[in-house]
Amino acid sequence: MRAETVVQWGLIFLMALLLFFAFTGIFISTLTLALTPEGFAFLLGLLGAWLFANKLLFGYGSFLFTAEAILNNEEVNREELEKKTNQPKEQIAELSIVSLMFLWLQSLDYYRYAYYGLFTLFLILMLLTKFNLLGALIVGNYLEGAFWGAAVVTLFVFALEITANYLMGELLEREAQNG
């Protein structure tokens, strides 16, 4: 029994050591990433896309928190929810909480379309530079870096968006069951 504990702790120590070196490596390679022009283009694309996606990231993020609170039968501040829908107060005074959530999700659609539209435009621009070998070597390579940076942000937007849609479906289902 004692031998087993010793081996187990030895393995845990080894694992911790390996993880430490791995994370140190990741940290150092992230620092050196910014030193190459491609890595700099990647970071620039990441930050630029984040700038446009920030409203969406925080909008869908807070939507997820509110939807989970409703699903857990916690109390939600109705006034704040009404503000989020961007609708006149008189029109939504008699609506249920789930309807307000639906309106909130719809109000985020404009930003979503704008973001995806810009991302697609950037993708097309990047591909256009890639048709020519010289263009690909001079600008296409850096545009591709910026594109992949933007793709990381787009992944988070996409993930938050379909999770929000999933939770909205859950809310609607529960509303239908409750009558």
Binding site: L33, T36, G145, W148, L155, F158, A159, T163, Y166
Partner: protein, 162 residues
């Protein structure tokens, strides 16, 4: 089912983006390695200009580093139809830079006062070039035979002799 599709969709998108980012960063490093390999010039074509008495060479630089032609030399060997004697011109200074992945035209003047080239004359041109990564000198040697039909006849004769 909807939960499964949502989770799988996110995971798949994550895999695609992760693979894309990883392969981009790796391949750009690899591309940088290749970009530092100097190419060796290729003579695409040689044409004799009768009026100006010179030969124009189209030289391509297939590499991604610029190449500088610094010196030219030629050896003239007369064919059967020519009355001219053979001669050598060497150390002709040149300063022609061929940008990466492009073609430059290099002119090689034949000896002044000599006869026009006749079919069968051979001009052996030597171009000396350097590239930015080293101080060494490299050479390309190109053999140019004036007049195409004469060459075919030679080949026929060779076949007969065999």
């Amino acid at each position: 089912m909807r939960y499964f599709l949502t989770a799988t969709g996110i995971a798949l998108a994550g895999l695609l983006v992760g693979g894309g980012v990883g392969s981009y960063l790796t391949s750009s490093k690899l591309l940088k390695q290749f970009q530092n390999i100097p190419g060796s010039p290729i003579v695409l074509s040689a044409q004799y200009d009768k009026e100006k008495h010179l030969i124009r060479y189209a030289i391509s630089n297939p590499g991604t580093l610029p190449i500088k032609v610094i010196e030219k030399a030629l050896v003239f060997t007369p064919g059967k139809e020519s009355k001219e004697k053979g001669y050598i011109l060497s150390n002709i200074p040149a300063n022609i830079e061929i940008p990466p992945l492009s073609v430059a035209v290099v002119e090689l003047k034949l000896k002044e006062g000599t006869e026009k080239l006749q079919p069968g004359d051979v001009v052996l041109a030597t171009f000396t070039y350097t590239h930015p990564l080293s101080q060494d000198l490299y050479t390309v040697v190109h053999s140019f035979t004036h007049g195409a039909p004469k060459q075919e006849k030679k080949e026929e004769k060779q076949e007969e002799s065999k």
